[in-house]
């Protein structure tokens, strides 16, 4: 018998270089709502992560369908780096968003510096005909998958 249970997902979170720029991008491009911006003290950060000398600027957002995404800007330490990840590297993450017009979204994303990683995939499998998907990478290295469903919608919702 487990001594605890997971009750819900609190958020997905990414570390970004500039939280103000990243929040503006998620708000203006993807339509996320910015709920709060708060400062995280360096001592709390150290207790949680063992990373020293890192005060935080944190932004909380909600996706159009009610999930939560956190963006964190670490103001230190001096040797903080940048994850140069490919999707095949262990630890790489992405968020997948359903979109009503994938081609329009890809075109709009480009104007925000959010670039297509390769091509757009179209599915022809029975029941999934017409579904389109692509991977994008934004200026913070956050990978975003866009999926345009066909008239059957997201098959996982039916499970």
């Amino acid at each position: 018998m487990a001594k605890f249970k997971v009750t819900e997902t609190t958020h997905m979170s990414w570390t970004v270089a500039d939280v103000d720029k990243a929040l503006a991008r998620f708000r203006d491009l993807w339509g996320f709502k910015v709920l709060a911006q708060i400062d995280g003290p360096a001592d709390v950060c150290e207790v949680l992560t063992k990373v020293k000398d890192a005060p935080l600027k944190i932004g909380h957002m909600r996706t159009p369908d009610g999930h939560y995404v956190e963006l964190i800007q670490y103001l230190g330490p001096r040797d903080k780096g940048r994850v140069r990840c490919r999707p095949c590297d262990t630890g790489a993450a992405h968020i997948a968003l359903g979109v009503d017009d994938l081609d329009a979204a890809v075109a709009e994303a480009k104007t925000f510096g959010v670039e297509l990683m390769n091509g757009v995939m179209e599915l022809y499998d029975p029941g999934l005909e017409g579904v389109k998907a692509c991977y994008l990478k934004d200026p913070d290295g956050i990978m975003i998958e866009l999926i345009q469903w066909n008239r059957n919608g997201n098959p996982f919702h039916a499970m």
Binding site: K3, F4, K5, D89, L97, D100, M121, N154
Partner: protein, 163 residues
């Protein structure tokens, strides 16, 4: 006026080294539901990501409350690596899950394959007193934050729902 709109959040996703181990962690320890296991073909991976020679194994997990996570184990290319990102590195990601009893989770975490980054933080701020949180690293390098709210619950989920 944008020519499109986001209709839903389909999933969050992490690349892992050993899909079976990760699925066992999320199913047996974190109480999530494994919905589908599937295979990805190299041509699909290449179209989407530009990475060649990479068949992959996929697992879709539903977290209590309904959010979906996709875990992907790439079986190629040979030069794929382990990111070993620190939380301060731009592009690092984590997923935060709410639990009803953080001490209960701590008791079994190590055995389940989750190692504490450092320590539990107890929040003392006004209105947040009693909130506790801890960062864990899974064997696969995936970072999981577990949060125990106080009687007030998750403050963000009390905000007006309309975007």
């Amino acid at each position: 006026m944008a020519g499109f709109r986001i209709v839903d959040t389909v999933h969050s996703a992490f690349t892992v080294a050993d899909l079976d181990k990760t699925l066992a962690l999320f199913r047996d320890f974190l109480g999530c539901e494994v919905l589908v296991q599937d295979k990805g073909t190299p041509d699909v991976v290449e179209t989407l990501t530009g990475i060649r020679g990479a068949p992959c194994k996929l697992g879709f997990v539903r977290i209590p409350g309904g959010h979906m996570i996709e875990f992907i184990e790439y079986e190629g290319p040979n030069d794929r690596r382990d990111l070993k990102a620190r939380p301060c590195d731009t592009g690092a990601a984590h997923i935060a899950l709410a639990v009803d009893n953080l001490d209960g989770a701590l008791a079994g975490a190590r055995k389940a394959g989750l190692t504490l980054y450092n320590k539990v933080v107890d929040i003392e701020d006004e209105g947040m007193k009693g909130v506790r949180s801890a960062y864990f690293k899974a064997a696969d390098g995936l970072t999981v934050e577990l949060i125990q709210w106080n009687a007030g619950g998750d403050p963000f989920k009390k905000m007006p729902k309309k975007n």
